[in-house]
Structure formats: structure tokens, C-alpha cells
């Protein structure tokens, strides 16, 4: 009986831990994020004061350094070239979560996916592998799902 109670206690504790872990996934350090993008906020203020100014002009004035453009247009440039030359920022906005996954799939260490996708692009048979590998996964079995 004691063993049973112990198992139940351990199970409840483990279950509770799992729940806590899931909830924690949905929190982040807002101050840290704000600090990280504070330079961008400063640029935003400059542009709001002069809406017609370009990034090149601000660089010429010494108000931006050369790394700004890459960071501004593709903040995740550390992942390499953005998929299909489309800034990852737009992938998220235009294609929602699907776009975010595309960025991951072709930017993460998935050489086969990347090669297949780029191979399709360069040979103009765009998207075939993509559709098979990705859309097939999501939509082909839609009738059996939700």
C-alpha cells in the first residue's frame, strides 16, 4: 500500500512538473528582449523624424554601422542566407507558422532539405520536393484528420 502511495505521489509530482514546464515555455524575459532591440528602437525614432531617409543615408551620416542592414532585413542572418532570398521576417508575416517552419527547415542543420529545396529552385522545378516533403506531411492526409 505504501508503495502504491509512493508511486501515486511520484506520479503526481512528475505530472505537476510536466505541467509547470509547459507553462514556463510561454514566458520570456521582456526586459532582455527590449534591451536587445533598443538599437532598432533608436533607428525607428530617427526614421519617424525623417520618413524619407534611407539606410544608406544614415550610414553615410555615421548614425548606423554597416552591420545594420543585414540585421534589419534578416535578424536571423546568423542562420545563413534567408530561404529563397526572402527575408525571414517576411516568412513569418506572410506565411505564419508555416513560414517559420520553412525558415527552420532550410536554415537548421538539415542539409538534405536545404539541398533539395535549393536544387529545385535553381533548376526551376520549384517546390516539387518541398511539396512532397512538407505539404504532403500536412495536407495529404487532411481527409483522415481534422
Amino acid at each position: 500500500m505504501k508503495k502504491l502511495l509512493l508511486v501515486i505521489c511520484v506520479s503526481v509530482f512528475a505530472f505537476g512538473s510536466a505541467l509547470a514546464k509547459d507553462a514556463e515555455l510561454f514566458s520570456y524575459d521582456k526586459a532582455k528582449v527590449n534591451q536587445a532591440v533598443s538599437d532598432m528602437s533608436r533607428v525607428e525614432q530617427m526614421v519617424n523624424q525623417n520618413p524619407n531617409i534611407s539606410g544608406d543615408e544614415l550610414m553615410a551620416q555615421g548614425k548606423l554601422d554597416a552591420s545594420f542592414e543585414a540585421n534589419a532585413t534578416s535578424p536571423f542572418s546568423v542562420m545563413g542566407e534567408p530561404p529563397l532570398g526572402i527575408p525571414s521576417f517576411l516568412w513569418g508575416c506572410i506565411l505564419g507558422w508555416v513560414g517559420l517552419l520553412i525558415v527552420y527547415l532550410v536554415s537548421e542543420d538539415k542539409d538534405e532539405t536545404k539541398k533539395a529545396l535549393w536544387g529545385c529552385v535553381t533548376s526551376t522545378i520549384v517546390g516539387i520536393v518541398f511539396y512532397f516533403a512538407f505539404w504532403g506531411a500536412l495536407f495529404a492526409s487532411a481527409s483522415s484528420g481534422i
Binding site: L19, D22, A23, L25, F26, Y28, K32, V33, A36, V37, M40, V47, P51, S54, G55, D56, L58, E69, A72, T73, P75, F76, V78, M79, L84, G85, I86, S88, F89, L90, G92, C93, I94, L95, G96, W97, V98, G99, L100, L101, I102, Y104, L105, E108, V121, V126, G127, F130, A133, F134, G136, A137, L138, F139, A140, S141, A142, S144, G145, I146
Partner: protein, 183 residues
């Protein structure tokens, strides 16, 4: 910095960027066009998923599930924690295992965030939707925070939306942006 235009009837998403470069990006059907000085300088094929854009989902009051209900993704688990409802989505059993589970959280039917896990259950990306405001009867998040994990380091992207207008009639033509014919 720029403006997005989206009409759910055209399913054409237009992004007019003013800074740091003046350029236009248009997503329509299976193509994404990059236009500079009214000339298409690049056209790329992309999946026809306008229905997954945040704009489309907001206009159709579907942002709370982020469009997952329109896919074959399976709800594996739903649980309530604190004031959040957390849903775990998984690929169908027969689908290729390209990525891991995805978790979404909602509060009062508003999407708080989404967490992407890899096959090993490690977080690869988080996205948070903040500062919801009611525009024309629709709840629109005015801030989207992306956190992506690369080599265990967090990278951030914050997108803020301002001056959101619903049923804007003053710039009608741009919603059905005509792609310049020459490339």
C-alpha cells in the same frame, strides 16, 4: 519599416517597405515577388498559404488556433494551466517527421504564443503575440516577439504594428497590387 496591405478576397499580401530600402514584396498564390522601382527583380516560388498569414487569420477570427485547424495536424493534448489553455499539436502518424511538436497557448481565446520543438523535444523557436487591441471588432496583436534558439543562444525579432485599419477604402488599388510585367 513599411506597410502591409491584405484583402482576404484577393489573398494577395503586399508589403511596401520604406526603410532601410524602398522595395515591395508581394505574395500571391505560389509566388513571392520582390519589386524595386516598379520592376520585378526576383520571383520565388513559395507555398500557397495566404490562409496562414496572421492578417488572414485575424480577419477570419482564426488566430486563436493559428490556422492549425485547417491542417492535418493532430491535437495531442489540451491542458489548462494558470490562465492559459495549452494545446500540443503533432504531425499525423504517417507523415514524415520533419519537425517536432508544436505548442500553442491561448488566454480568453486569444493566442498568447507558440513554441516549436525539434524531434528531441528541444525548443527551437518561440513566438509571442502581445498588446491585443480591438480594431473594427477584431482583436489584432500589435506586437509579435520572435525568439529563435541557435546554438543555445537566443536571437530576437520584435515586430510592432501601428495604425491598423480594417475596411480601408482610401488605398483600394494597392490591395490588388498589379505585378509589373517586365522582369
Amino acid at each position: 519599416m513599411g506597410k502591409f496591405y491584405y484583402d482576404r478576397n484577393y489573398k494577395k499580401l503586399v508589403y511596401v517597405n520604406n526603410f532601410p530600402k524602398k522595395e515591395v514584396w508581394v505574395s500571391k498564390d505560389t509566388s513571392v515577388y520582390h519589386i524595386v522601382n516598379n520592376k520585378v527583380i526576383d520571383r520565388q516560388s513559395a507555398p500557397p498559404v495566404a490562409e496562414f498569414s496572421m492578417f488572414h487569420l485575424v480577419l477570419n477570427s482564426q488566430l486563436s488556433n493559428y490556422g492549425f485547424k485547417n491542417t492535418a495536424m493532430i491535437i495531442e493534448k489540451v491542458e489548462k494551466q494558470d490562465n492559459m489553455v495549452i494545446t500540443t499539436w503533432a504531425l499525423p502518424p504517417k507523415a514524415p517527421k520533419l519537425f517536432g511538436k508544436i505548442k500553442t497557448s491561448t488566454t480568453n481565446n486569444k493566442l498568447n504564443g507558440i513554441v516549436f520543438l525539434n524531434m528531441e523535444g528541444k525548443v527551437i523557436k518561440k513566438q509571442f503575440f502581445n498588446d491585443y487591441r480591438n480594431i473594427g471588432g477584431l482583436e489584432f496583436p500589435h506586437e509579435v516577439v520572435d525568439i529563435i534558439y541557435i546554438n543555445d543562444k537566443e536571437n530576437y525579432q520584435v515586430t510592432t504594428y501601428k495604425n491598423i485599419q480594417i475596411d480601408d477604402l482610401t488605398e483600394g488599388n494597392i490591395y490588388n497590387y498589379t505585378i509589373p510585367g517586365n522582369k
